[in-house]
């Protein structure tokens, strides 16, 4: 067992996949708790689709994918946040419209330029092989920044997640913190998209938070559990994908699904025993 784990890490691409994956899962899990509780779950989904559209257009034009995707997704994050804050059904529908349009634009520009090749496929469904040394550097830098900002703003993030109205009354710059959450999510989604896939990355925002909430009932324990669950889920998924030769992104999502179902059962048992 230990030996085969050592063999797994001896492949440079696996070691890189673990570093990037664990860091992005941690960040998205932390941000995800607030996004899910604020009913912004769809923003993660929308961002990854916009990210895919931007990457596909950049590749068609021969530009560097991440250099285009990061600013485009940040702008999209800002727009999606404003639309979601509208509060009406129109806001909800607008997020769905933006997601599917961005996906369609991406697929269209890819097929018009080079056809749906393996690069496009790997952006849609993810690939462990996709991580280069510079991707690792970028994801480490982004994750450290996200984690630091999250810890420093933790109490305020709690306040705006729990009660925006009260937060405003106490002088908190609620819109500023909402934008910060959306921007941090945007950058992390773009960084993690290569490996997890544009269609699957939003599950890292939603699943760990939902799993943690089934069992824990204080904000701090939910945040910590969500981060741990996310990192463990990623490791199980990616190791399974290595040994069973299954797609990376899908394996991680299924690991998270199994964790969620387990936590739901545990949560239900705890409730009936109370």
């Amino acid at each position: 067992m230990l030996e085969s784990i050592a063999v797994m890490f001896s492949y440079g691409f696996m070691a890189r996949a673990f570093i990037v994956g664990i860091l992005t899962s941690l960040c998205l899990a932390l941000l995800g708790v607030s996004l899910v509780l604020k009913r912004y779950s769809m923003i993660g989904d929308g961002l990854s689709h916009v990210g895919f559209g931007a990457v596909a257009v950049a590749m068609a034009l021969g530009a560097a994918p991440l250099a285009v995707a990061v600013p485009v997704v940040m702008i999209a994050a800002f727009l999606l946040l404003m639309i979601s804050d509208d509060g009406s059904f129109r806001g909800d529908a607008a997020v769905a419209v933006i997601s599917s349009s961005a996906l369609a634009i991406g697929v269209m520009s890819a097929s018009l330029s080079s056809g749906i090749n393996s690069d496009v496929h790997s952006y849609l469904f993810g690939s462990v092989l996709a991580m280069s040394k510079s991707d690792v550097m970028l994801s480490v830098a982004v994750s450290v920044a996200v984690l630091l900002l999250y810890v420093i703003c933790y109490n305020r993030i709690f306040a705006i997640t729990f009660d925006e109205t009260f937060g405003r009354a106490t002088g908190l710059k609620v819109d500023k913190y909402n934008t910060l959450l959306a921007m941090l999510t945007a950058v992390t989604v773009v960084v993690g998209m290569r490996m997890m896939g544009a269609l699957l990355i939003s599950s890292l925002v939603i699943f760990p938070a939902l799993s943690a909430m089934r069992v824990f009932s204080s904000f701090r324990s939910v945040v910590i559990c969500s981060a741990l669950v996310s990192a463990v889920g990623f490791c199980i998924g990616i190791a399974a994908s290595y040994w069973l030769n299954t797609p990376a992104g899908a394996s991680v999502v299924i690991a998270n699904l199994v964790i969620f179902l387990t936590f739901s059962t545990v949560g239900a048992v705890l409730k009936t025993n109370e």
């Binding site: 509780l37 604020k38 009913r39 810890v151 420093i152 703003c153 933790y154 109490n155 305020r156 709690f158 306040a159 729990f162 009660d163 109205t165 009260f166 937060g167 405003r168 009354a169 106490t170 002088g171 908190l172 943690a212 909430m213 824990f216 009932s217 204080s218 904000f219 701090r220 324990s221 939910v222």
Partner: protein, 236 residues
């Protein structure tokens, strides 16, 4: 000198005037109840008092108090009903109103939160989960949070909405104590004329001021009879 004074206050959303030419004053130690039908401008006035919306015309003058020193009890949102948070976390978040630079809570903040819980008679709930509490307990927790944010004035928005009669009676008793014993200024917005009977002064709004004065005289006024459909509500 009144602690809060509204002079010919007009507030609007774009071209829609929500309240027009409202004048009234609140003295330190007052217990004021603001009544009026839906759409009469109560919520807009709350935003004005909290400094979240600027007047279109007229003034809101604060004497010796800032907007942030008004402890606010908002109406509960649906999202809070299943929110994973401990009582302690919720109450401590009130302390953010005076913390501008420091990211973490200090020992003083924690003492303040514990004192607020004690005032609300819910020290035993500190470790409990907010989502597992009854409606009345939740309101007490949110009142404790408001007490952390402000120790001189509370602004309560429909505090007893959705509470059963016993829980609301207990809550009104607590609010009365804060006013009488702690000398806090209370501004309470309510639909409920029974609640208005607990206050010393009434502001009846109808996109402006329909009545402002003592509670006693209010029950003899035409405005009150209009709201209650001509029925008589006398309160001891």
């Amino acid at each position: 000198m009144p602690i809060i004074e509204c002079k010919n206050l007009t507030m609007a959303y774009g071209s829609h005037i929500a309240l027009r030419d409202l004048s009234f004053a609140i003295e330190a130690g007052d217990y004021l109840c603001i009544v009026g039908e839906n759409g009469s401008g109560k919520s807009t006035l709350i935003k004005g008092l909290l400094g979240l919306q600027q007047p279109k015309e007229g003034k809101i003058i604060l004497n010796g108090i800032t907007h942030r020193e008004i402890g606010y009890l908002p109406q509960q949102s649906m999202a809070q009903k299943d929110f994973p948070a401990s009582v302690k976390e919720v109450v401590l978040s009130g302390c953010l109103s005076y913390k501008h630079r420091t990211p973490f809570y200090s020992a003083d903040d924690k003492i303040k939160a514990a004192a607020a819980l004690e005032k609300m008679g819910i020290s035993d709930l500190e470790k409990r989960s907010f989502r597992a509490l009854s409606g009345g307990q939740r309101q007490r927790v949110l009142m404790a949070r408001a007490l952390c944010a402000a120790d001189r004035m509370l602004l309560l928005d429909e505090p007893a909405a959705a509470l059963d009669p016993q829980a609301s009676a207990e809550l009104y008793a607590l609010i009365g104590d804060l006013n009488k014993k702690e000398k806090m200024t209370i501004i309470m917005v309510s639909h409920d004329l029974d609640a208005a009977g607990k206050a010393d002064k009434i502001l009846h709004m109808a996109n402006g001021c329909a009545y402002f004065g003592s509670t006693e005289q209010y029950y003899h006024s035409d405005v009150c009879h209009h709201l209650t459909g001509g029925g008589h509500h006398h309160h001891a």
